[in-house]
C-alpha cells in the first residue's frame, strides 16, 4: 500500500465531505405542461408517485368537502401561478402538522396543519414551501444525489478494501450519510426561502412565517424526552428555521404596510371542521403537545368553546396531579362560550365522578343527556348515572 494511494483515497473522502453544493437552479421545473421523457430517471420517479397519488385519491381519509377543497386549491393556485394547472391538491384527514408535494405535482395537505394554523398567511407560507419542493424538483435532485453518493461509496469502499485500508470505506460511509442529510436540509432551507418569497409576493405578512416555527419549537420542547422528533435529521431545527424566517421578515417587513393575514377567510373555511379535527388531534394521545396547541388556539382564534373543550379533554386524559383542576377550568371556560360542545358537561361529569363528588357528577351528566339525547355513549352515561 503506497502512500500515494492512501492520499488519493483520502482526497476522494474529502470531496464527498465538502461536495454536493446545492444545485437547486439546475433542477428548476421546465414550463407548465412538462412531462419527463419516459426513458429518464425522472419518469420512473413520477411513475412511482403516480401510484402513491392514486392511493391518496382512493383513500377513505381523503376529505371531499367541496368548499374546503376549493379554498385550499385556490390558495395553492395563487402561489403556484402559471403552474396551477400542473398541480393537484388533496386534503387528507390526518392530525399531523404536515403537508407535502410530490414530484409529479400532487400536493397533499393534512387537516392537522389546517387545525393548527391561525390564519391564511401561516398556511400560505407552508404551502409556498411545499410548492417550492415541486418547482425546484427537489425529489429528483435528491434521488440523483443518493444514486451518485451510494455509487461513489460502493466504488470507494471496494478501492479502500482492495488497498487494505477498509476502515476508510467505513469512514466514507459516515461522510456519505452526512452528505445525504445535509442535502435534505439544504433543500428544506431552499423551500423555506423561496416559499417565503412566494407568500410575501402575494402580500402575506412576513412575521407569520416564523410564527409557525415558534409553535413547532414549543411543541418539540413539550415532547417527553427521548421521543423522536417528526422531522428527524433531514430537517433543520425548528429554532434555526424560526430565526431564519425572523431575519427574512425584518428585511421584508418595511417594503409595504398593507400586509395581510386573512384570518377571517381562513376561519370561515375551516370553522365547520374544528370539532372533528380536534378529536383527531386528541386521538394522537400526546396530551403534552395537545395542551399547547389548544391553549394557543383558544387564545388566538374564534371557535373558542371547541378549543377549550379539547383543552379540557387533553388535561383530563393526561391525568397528572393538577390536571383535574386544569381540565375543570377548561370545561367551565368552554361552557361560557356560545359554541361550547355539550361534551364539556360529560367531561365535568367524569371529573366529578372520579373525585367522588356524586352531586356534581349527576348534575353534569344530566346536562349532557339533555343537550345530546342521542349521544353515541348514552348507554355508558346511563350506567354511570345508575351507579351514582
Amino acid at each position: 500500500m503506497t502512500r500515494r494511494r492512501v492520499t488519493a483515497l483520502a482526497a476522494g473522502l474529502c470531496m464527498l465531505a465538502v461536495g454536493g453544493a446545492s444545485a437547486a437552479d439546475r433542477y428548476t421545473m421546465p414550463p407548465p405542461g412538462y412531462h419527463p421523457d419516459l426513458s429518464t430517471d425522472e419518469a420512473g420517479l413520477w411513475m412511482q408517485v403516480d401510484k402513491a397519488e392514486t392511493d391518496i385519491k382512493n383513500s377513505p381519509t381523503l376529505v371531499h368537502d367541496e368548499k374546503l377543497n376549493t379554498y385550499v386549491r385556490g390558495l395553492v393556485c395563487e402561489l403556484a401561478g402559471d403552474f396551477c394547472p400542473s398541480i393537484r391538491v388533496y386534503v387528507v384527514e390526518n392530525p399531523q402538522f404536515n403537508a407535502f408535494a410530490m414530484p409529479n405535482g400532487a400536493v397533499v395537505v393534512y387537516t392537522g396543519l389546517l387545525l393548527q394554523c391561525e390564519n391564511e398567511a401561516q398556511l400560505a407560507f407552508v404551502l409556498g414551501h411545499e410548492i417550492t419542493h415541486y418547482l425546484h424538483r427537489h425529489t429528483l435532485a435528491h434521488l440523483r444525489m443518493m444514486v451518485n453518493t451510494t455509487g461513489f461509496l460502493a466504488v470507494f469502499g471496494l478501492a479502500a478494501a482492495g488497498a487494505g485500508v477498509g476502515f476508510l470505506g467505513a469512514l466514507a460511509n459516515g461522510a456519505g450519510v452526512g452528505a445525504i442529510f445535509r442535502n435534505s436540509r439544504d433543500e428544506e432551507r431552499d423551500a423555506d426561502d423561496n416559499g417565503f418569497r412566494l407568500a410575501t409576493a402575494f402580500g402575506y405578512e412576513p412575521a407569520q412565517a416564523s410564527a409557525i416555527w415558534r409553535f413547532m419549537a414549543d411543541q418539540e420542547g413539550a415532547r417527553p424526552k427521548g421521543s423522536p422528533s417528526l422531522f428527524l435529521a433531514d430537517h433543520p431545527q425548528s429554532k434555526e428555521r424560526m430565526a431564519t424566517m425572523e431575519k427574512a421578515a425584518s428585511v421584508a417587513e418595511p417594503a409595504r404596510n398593507d400586509w395581510k393575514v386573512n384570518a377571517d377567510t381562513f376561519h370561515a373555511a375551516t370553522a365547520g371542521f374544528i370539532a372533528r379535527w380536534s378529536e383527531d388531534e386528541l386521538s394522537l394521545n400526546r396530551p403534552d403537545e395537545s395542551i399547547l396547541i389548544f391553549r394557543r388556539l383558544a387564545a388566538n382564534n374564534p371557535s373558542e368553546g371547541l378549543y377549550r373543550y379539547a383543552l379540557g379533554e387533553s388535561y383530563r386524559r393526561r391525568n397528572g396531579k393538577t390536571d383535574g383542576a386544569a381540565a375543570q377550568e377548561a370545561f367551565r371556560g368552554a361552557l361560557d362560550c356560545p359554541d361550547a360542545p355539550a361534551e364539556s358537561w360529560r367531561g365535568l361529569g367524569l371529573l366529578a365522578m372520579k373525585a367522588g363528588d356524586k352531586v356534581t357528577a349527576r348534575d353534569a351528566f344530566s346536562h349532557y343527556r339533555t343537550a345530546l339525547p342521542g349521544a353515541g355513549d348514552k348507554a355508558m352515561i346511563d350506567f354511570y348515572m345508575s351507579q351514582l
Partner: protein, 229 residues
C-alpha cells in the same frame, strides 16, 4: 407499502442466488375450480403491480417508466394468451375508483404479505395449512365484471447497470458476492364466490427479462406455474 415488504420478503427468500429461477406453488385443499357458466369462463385480471428498474452501482433501484410499460403489456398479453389456450377469457379490471374494490385489492396485498411471511416463518396456528381467504366481500368484483376468479400479479424486475456490474466484478475479485439485478414476484388466484385464495405462486429469479417478448413469455410461464385452471 405492503407490496414493498412483500418484495423484500421475496428477495430474502431468494437469498444469494446464482443464475437460478425458483417458483413455489401453493394450492388450497378442497377448493376445486368450478365455473358458473362452462361456455363463458372468465378470469378477472387486477391491474398487475409491475415495476422494472435499474440497479445502480450503489445498490439502489431506479424505476424505469418505459421498461415498466413494456413489461406490463407483455405480462397482460402473455397471461391472456396462456388462458386463452385453455378456453378462458381474461378480462382486465379498469383503473380502481370504487372504494370497496380499492379495499379488496389492499386486503389482497395484506393477505399476500401474510402468505409470504408464513412461507418464511410458519405461524404455529397456521402450520402448513393453505386456507387463506379475502372473505365473501369479493362478490363485488364478481358482480361488476362477471367472472368466477380474479388473478393478482406482482412483479419487481431489476437490471444490473454497467456501474453495478463493475462493483460486482470488483467485489468478486476480493472474494465477495454482491447481488445483481433480479426478478421477484407472485401471482394468486382468488375464488370470487368464496373469497378463498385457491392458488398462490411465488417467483424468484436472478435471470429473465420482461423487456423483450421471449423473456416475458418465460417469466409469465414461471409465474403461472401450477395454476389449476
Amino acid at each position: 407499502m405492503r407490496h414493498i415488504w412483500g418484495g423484500i420478503a421475496l428477495c430474502a427468500m431468494c437469498g444469494l442466488l446464482a443464475a437460478c429461477t425458483q417458483t413455489s406453488t401453493k394450492l388450497a385443499e378442497a377448493a376445486p375450480i368450478t365455473w358458473s357458466d362452462q361456455s363463458g369462463k372468465r378470469v378477472i385480471l387486477v391491474d398487475p403491480d409491475v415495476e422494472l428498474s435499474e440497479l445502480t452501482a450503489g445498490g439502489m433501484t431506479e424505476a424505469r417508466a418505459d421498461w415498466t410499460a413494456t413489461g406490463k403489456t407483455f405480462i397482460r398479453d402473455d397471461i391472456a394468451s396462456s388462458l386463452q389456450a385453455k378456453g378462458i377469457s381474461l378480462v382486465s379490471m379498469d383503473a380502481l375508483t370504487d372504494r370497496h374494490e380499492v379495499q379488496l385489492v389492499k386486503l389482497h396485498g395484506a393477505v399476500g404479505l401474510s402468505i409470504l411471511q408464513n412461507a418464511l416463518l410458519n405461524l404455529p396456528t397456521k402450520a402448513k395449512k393453505f386456507d387463506w381467504t379475502l372473505g365473501p366481500g369479493v362478490a363485488a368484483i364478481r358482480d361488476h365484471y362477471h367472472g368466477d376468479y380474479a388473478l393478482f400479479v406482482f412483479v419487481r424486475d431489476s437490471y444490473t447497470t454497467a456501474g453495478r456490474a463493475l462493483v460486482m466484478l470488483g467485489a468478486a475479485m476480493l472474494g465477495v458476492g454482491i447481488q445483481g439485478g433480479q426478478q421477484v414476484g407472485f401471482a394468486s388466484l382468488v375464488d370470487l364466490h368464496t373469497g378463498r385464495i385457491v392458488w398462490f405462486n411465488r417467483l424468484a429469479s436472478s435471470s429473465g427479462s420482461l423487456k423483450e417478448a421471449k423473456g416475458a413469455q418465460a417469466t409469465v410461464q414461471n409465474l403461472l406455474n401450477g395454476i389449476p385452471l
